[in-house]
């Protein structure tokens, strides 16, 4: 806007003078060039930052993943692609477990996010903004502290365990292999996925809510006028229109969930080790094999990149960004 305005005096000057002098033409050209340059000047610092500290590091991690050596002598780039085979053999179990946990987390988040977003978008009236603020409010207490709170909530002698035992749900959970005994749910896949669903649910709700809020409520009335049941209206009208939000929400849930290890460590035990924990140990912890940690990161990166690019191709970025 400001640049557009800047050209105007030059153009007016040319018109008033009837015959533009060489100097005026040159000044006009200079202003035009400056105007064309402005967006690049605005973009340059931020985009450069992202290229140097987001795009370039991807190359660093790939080169680290094919290094060889140990902590004492240092690591040397030998293009050892066999690192990738090694990590798959060593940690296949953790890789598959991370996929299982994050898929379950995404599914449960979707099941919870759909009614919640629907309620806020269509039934909450003027409480809409307040309720959306409540969905985001938990974010503002450190998430590690909130995750720890689940240890209190799910404790063996807590009220959740009491309810689950009374309703005879605990044998069901252990029967499905989600817990390991009938009197405890902590340090099991159940508590880990519970913490993940809790932590990532707002990421699922936000895009779905944004998509649903745009839906004209008269479309629901039209559905009802045509004798569609509430369920049929949801399935045939609301769901397809909210689909971009649903795809975006599940993506924004699955991708952080697959690399997360905070829930697995804080709420889980030795049997719930995920790929993030392995990477953490290899990169900065006791594992001490930087190239192995890097190779696992590259696998995770490529996996999520493929999913994301497929999504961008389908839905376009402008909608999300």
């Amino acid at each position: 806007m400001s640049a557009e305005a800047a050209t105007e005096p030059a153009q007016t000057a040319g018109a008033v003078g009837a015959v533009a002098t060489q100097a005026e033409l040159r000044a006009d050209r200079r202003v035009r060039r400056r105007r064309a340059l402005l967006p690049y000047l605005l973009l340059a610092p931020g985009i450069a930052w992202l290229i140097v500290f987001f795009v370039v590091p991807m190359w660093s991690i790939i080169s680290t993943s094919v290094e060889e050596g140990d902590m004492d002598t240092g690591f040397v780039l030998t293009w050892r692609w066999a690192n990738f085979g090694d990590v798959w053999t060593n940690w296949r179990e953790q890789i598959i477990r991370s996929l299982e946990y994050s898929l379950m987390c995404t599914l449960f988040c979707l099941v919870l996010a759909l009614p919640l977003a629907y309620f806020i978008a269509f039934k909450a009236g003027r409480w809409k903004n307040l309720l959306m603020a409540l969905v985001i409010a938990p974010f503002f207490t450190s998430y590690l502290i909130r995750t720890l709170a689940w240890k209190t909530i799910l404790a063996d002698d807590g009220w959740v365990m009491h309810v689950l035992t009374t309703l005879h749900i605990t044998p069901l959970l252990s029967g499905m292999g989600w817990t390991y005994s009938d009197n405890s749910v902590l340090q099991t896949p159940f508590s880990v996925v519970c913490g993940m669903v809790y932590n990532f649910l707002p990421f699922t709700v936000l895009p779905i809510y944004t998509a649903m809020e745009k839906i004209d409520p008269r479309l629901h009335e039209a559905g009802q006028d045509l004798y569609a049941s509430a369920w049929a209206t949801f399935r045939k009208v609301t769901f397809p229109l909210a689909l971009p939000g649903i795809v975006g929400g599940t993506l924004l849930t699955f991708i952080p969930a697959v690399g997360d290890y905070t829930n697995a460590v804080m709420l889980g035990g030795p049997k719930t080790k995920v790929i993030g924990t392995v990477i953490e140990q290899q990169m900065i912890g006791t594992g001490g094999n930087l190239p192995y940690g890097a190779a696992l990161s590259v696998m995770l990166m490529l996996g999520t990149l493929v999913i994301t690019l497929a999504y961008i191709k389908r839905a376009g970025t402008e909608e999300i960004v």
Partner: protein, 285 residues
């Protein structure tokens, strides 16, 4: 029906159960939403509740005894001072830099045409879609390959935080810019305002709430970040990193005090932003 009023006075079991069923069907979505809100908000309540606990051992997991000890000594004899200050410093600087860089990008995207729009969008979108552990390890590899272990600390954490905050600033400011009436700026120009005056007197005040929201979001993201921080921190401890290390040794209730304070400040912020709107809405009804 008016001929048989007694039917209405004594509804049969069947009609009553139908009424209950209908009420339930009508409100089922509200009940489900209520339960999900309960699920989302209970941990926050537990955080606040446990800040008043007086644990006998090192672990503040089980409720034992009411006490104000932690609130009277929120920094736990100064143990929490350094991690909190480091987190605050990083969050403030990261917010400042990311907000300026992100706002500039948002203006370029909404107000200008340029080549390579698809590339810019991808570079902005990917950091939001990449798992944190990937961003953390890639940056760690870059820092180790280029500068060595000595570089890890305040600088490396700051670089990482600015990187992941920029995209969120761009979306927040962009949506505010998109919602603005461009005619207001045209009007200013028609009234012979210079481009500079138009920007500072019309555009900026209108976009300011969006920039403010973006800054708050950046601050929260940076202050709370753990995974990327852990990878790039070296031996520096931010507040979340301190908590992570303390989990095995036992978390003092002071951590809950700080968590509660963060929540109270946020809720107060929401109230300040929302209450005037409700009052307005109630009056106009």
């Amino acid at each position: 029906m008016p001929a048989h009023p007694q039917v209405h006075h004594r509804p049969s079991m069947k009609t009553r159960s139908v009424a209950v069923l209908n009420w339930f069907r009508k409100h089922v979505i509200a009940i489900v939403a209520g339960l999900i809100f309960f699920f989302l908000l209970v941990p926050n309540a537990v955080v606040v509740w446990m800040s008043f606990n007086k644990p006998s051992g090192k672990y503040n997991v089980k409720w034992e005894q009411f006490s104000l000890d932690a609130w009277k000594n929120p920094l736990n004899d100064g143990i929490l001072h350094d991690p909190l200050m480091l987190s605050l410093e990083i969050a403030l600087v990261a917010t400042l830099v990311a907000t300026v860089l992100g706002t500039m990008i948002a203006f370029a995207i909404v107000r200008h045409s340029f080549k390579g729009r698809g590339f810019v969008n991808s570079v902005l979108f990917l950091p939001m879609a990449a798992p944190e552990i990937v961003m953390g390890t890639t940056l760690l590899a870059l820092f180790l390959n280029t500068f060595g272990v000595g570089f890890l600390g305040f600088k490396s954490i700051l670089i990482a935080h600015i990187m992941f905050c920029v995209s969120y600033v761009v979306i927040t400011v962009k949506s505010r810019l998109n919602g603005m009436d461009p005619m207001l700026e045209k009007a200013a120009q028609d009234l012979y305002a210079t481009p500079w005056q138009t920007f500072w007197r019309v555009t900026f005040p209108l976009v300011a709430p969006g920039i403010g929201a973006a800054a708050l979001l950046s601050f929260a993201l940076s202050f709370d970040d753990f995974i990327i921080t852990e990878m790039t921190a070296g031996s520096s401890l931010t507040f979340p990193y301190w908590i992570w290390n303390a989990v095995q040794k036992g978390i003092p209730p002071q951590v809950n005090v700080i968590g509660s304070l963060m929540l109270v400040i946020t809720l107060a912020g929401i109230a300040v932003a929302e209450v005037p709107k409700w009052v307005k809405a109630t009056k106009s009804h």
